[in-house]
């Protein structure tokens, strides 16, 4: 078993899942909604970058920047037009709205760019290979994934810890009512967290896409894994989600190596087993309702 190889590949893919899991968690924590549209929204933004590069010939970084801005606007758009107008919604109602959003954007993307597969290239190529240890290959892409994941997590840490907006976001997450009372525009915080989630989502999606392929469905499976990773991490802390993603990637790769036929479900089965032991994921306390 090429241990080092599987480790690196598993961790790299896991980091992508973890990043995307962050996108899920950020929204879950502010509005308690599992955003089933996360994948499709990221796909939409990636296609914007793709379109700029392919059809208008813009350089990657410009397109990247534009895609981030677009993603942020898209996130806010969804929050403002689809979630905010829903008054007194039930939790499941909100989930159904996100499913609706997923169908809506999935349809739009397919309509605009058709379902044909495309290639999306980022400056960090998977074709450039390093060999840190003999027989263990590590592509530039994997290096980039690790660096970007580390940078994003560090930035997030500082953002949440030391900035006013970050503190306000945490405050809103913990107690919406009290946040309103201290004068936080909670609506804006919601819109902002959607934008934020969408931006992180598209970053992760671009990394995944550049390694795999670009088509309107390419985030469906990663989304499920990211969601699972977030749940495994406990849906709470930023590092927890990334760790969850890493575990997810490793399980998939090692089990996938040992028994390829069962690869697609091993990670999910393991997660269910973990949840049976720790009902709130690995890194969160299990709260019991008080009477």
């Amino acid at each position: 078993m090429p241990f080092g190889q599987l480790l690196i590949e598993g961790l790299a893919m896991g980091a992508c899942y973890g990043l995307f899991g962050l996108a899920v968690v950020i929204i879950y924590r502010t509005s308690e909604v599992i955003n089933f549209a996360a994948g499709t929204m990221a796909v939409f933004s990636t296609y914007i970058a793709f379109h700029m590069i392919t059809f208008y010939g813009h350089p990657f970084w410009l397109a990247f920047l534009f895609a981030l801005i677009f993603a942020a606007l898209l996130g806010m758009f969804v929050e403002f037009f689809f979630l905010r107008p829903a008054k007194n919604p039930t939790l499941l109602g909100l989930i159904v709205i996100t499913i609706g959003v997923q169908l809506l954007f999935g349809g739009l993307v397919c309509w605009k760019w058709t379902a044909d597969q495309q290639a999306f290239t980022i400056p960090f190529s998977y074709q450039v290979i390093y060999e840190p240890l003999p027989g263990v290959f590590m592509s530039q892409w994997a290096v980039a994934v690790f660096v970007i994941a580390a940078v994003i997590v560090t930035l997030l840490f500082f953002f949440f810890k030391y900035t006013k907006l970050g503190t306000a976001m945490r405050a809103t997450q913990q107690n919406k009512h009290a946040a309103k009372i201290v004068g936080i525009k909670t609506d804006r915080i919601f819109a902002f967290s959607w934008a934020f989630s969408s931006v992180i989502g598209v970053t992760s999606a671009m990394l995944i896409s550049s390694r795999t392929i670009l088509d309107p469905e390419f985030m469906m499976e990663p989304f499920l894994r990211a969601f699972a990773a977030a749940v495994l991490g406990g849906l709470m802390s930023v590092p927890g989600v990334l760790l969850g993603g890493g575990i997810m990637g490793l399980i998939e790769n090692f089990f996938g190596y040992a028994m390829p036929a069962w690869k697609p479900i091993t990670a999910f089965v393991v997660i269910v087993l973990v949840l049976c032991v720790r009902p709130s994921g690995l890194f969160a306390k299990h709260y019991v309702k008080k009477v």
Partner: protein
């Protein structure tokens, strides 16, 4: 309000003459429908009714007991596969096979209910989702189940061949009557269950599980029971679905189907049987009929093609059906968080109080 003279009248199936009247009208209409329906519509109705059974069952779990379930396509698959395999491999008569299959599904529901005792919200969502994926995957890997290839349903013989009682239903409309009767029966069962001890216990668990416990409701039993009942419904529906379609493969029971089931229940209205029926009807109709083939509608079609040529692509135009479905879902929840049933209650209230 008419006078009640007896406590039983409160729990009667048709608690007023008006309801009875309209139920009879609806039933007559349903039974007469095939006279004017094409085979295509009969198929669509069959599909709708199968979905109604799933939705009614799922609502017992999601709406009444308050558990989220993203793996119902798994039970649906178990029902379909078990029914067909019992009939072909063990030559068990249809009705027996259907019931046994439903119980097998219920058993799996019970199993899935066990982790659900400790999980909630997104954790439960992932657990049920994993169940659905696993079922689909396992079926795809076992030769007995036809593998990826899928299974062909045998002829629908609702008699008992062993006793020489053959009654084969070949036509779409024959199936329609069979499925309609079973759907009505299953719906009545659901209404009754929700009105009696178990149904109340389910609602109690949703509203306050601690209070439910201290009045003597055993959470373990009733939570798993809710899963089992709901899986039973999905199993029955699956068994019928096998014959509606005549052929199925593991991919038919994809996660998307589970999500669609959930959408039906939520759009229809959580916790109400009528709601799940309307939800299933609406969503199935939208998915299979309404938004399909916009390009063949006279004026609108040309407009759509023009729009597509101008800004989008003509090749992707069929995606309009997805967009339409998505928008309808969003619209219903935004304007009526309680689903179609909520809207119905509102209309009824308005009607009763009109013109005040």
């Amino acid at each position: 309000m008419d006078m009640k003279r007896d406590y039983y009248e409160d729990i009667e199936l048709f608690s007023s003459g008006t309801i009875l009247f309209w139920t009879v009208v609806l039933l007559v209409a349903l039974f007469a429908a095939p006279l004017i329906l094409s085979n295509y519509h009969a198929y669509l109705f069959n599909l709708i009714m199968v979905h109604v059974i799933v939705a009614v069952g799922l609502n017992i779990l999601v709406g009444s007991t308050g558990q989220i379930a993203l793996g119902h396509a798994g039970f649906f698959a178990i029902g379909a596969y078990a029914t067909v395999l019992l009939m072909t491999e063990l030559s068990i008569p249809f009705f027996a096979a259907l019931i046994i299959a439903a119980f097998i599904a219920a058993f799996f529901g019970f199993i899935l209910g066990l982790p659900a005792l400790r999980l909630e919200g997104p954790y439960l969502a992932i657990a049920t989702l994993a169940f659905g994926l696993a079922i689909m995957h396992i079926i795809g890997h076992v030769e007995l189940f036809g593998g990826r290839q899928g299974l062909m349903a045998p002829a629908l013989n609702i008699g008992i061949p062993q006793l020489g009682l053959d009654w084969e239903i070949c036509s779409e409309k024959g199936k329609y009557y069979l499925i309609l009767s079973i759907t009505i029966l299953m719906t009545l069962f659901a209404v009754n269950i929700l009105k009696t001890k178990a149904g109340r216990a389910f609602v109690a668990i949703r509203d306050s599980d601690i209070a439910a416990e201290v009045i003597g409701i055993n959470l373990t039993i009733y939570k798993t029971l809710a899963f089992a009942v709901s899986a039973f419904y999905a199993g029955v529906a699956g068994g019928l679905f096998a014959f509606v379609l005549g052929f199925f493969d593991p991919f038919t029971f994809h996660l998307i189907l589970s999500i669609i089931f959930l959408v039906m229940v939520v759009v229809g209205g959580l916790g109400s049987v009528m709601g799940s029926i309307t939800g299933a009807v609406l969503i199935t109709y939208l998915m299979y009929d309404l938004f399909k083939n916009v390009d063949e509608i006279p004026v609108v079609g040309d407009l759509m093609v023009a729009v597509s040529e101008q800004w989008l692509t003509v090749t992707g135009m069929d995606n309009f059906s997805m967009i339409g479905l998505g928008l309808v879902m969003i619209g219903i929840i935004i304007f009526e968080p309680l689903g179609i049933f909520g809207a119905w209650i509102r209309v009824k209230k308005y009607w009763k109080t009109w013109p005040f």
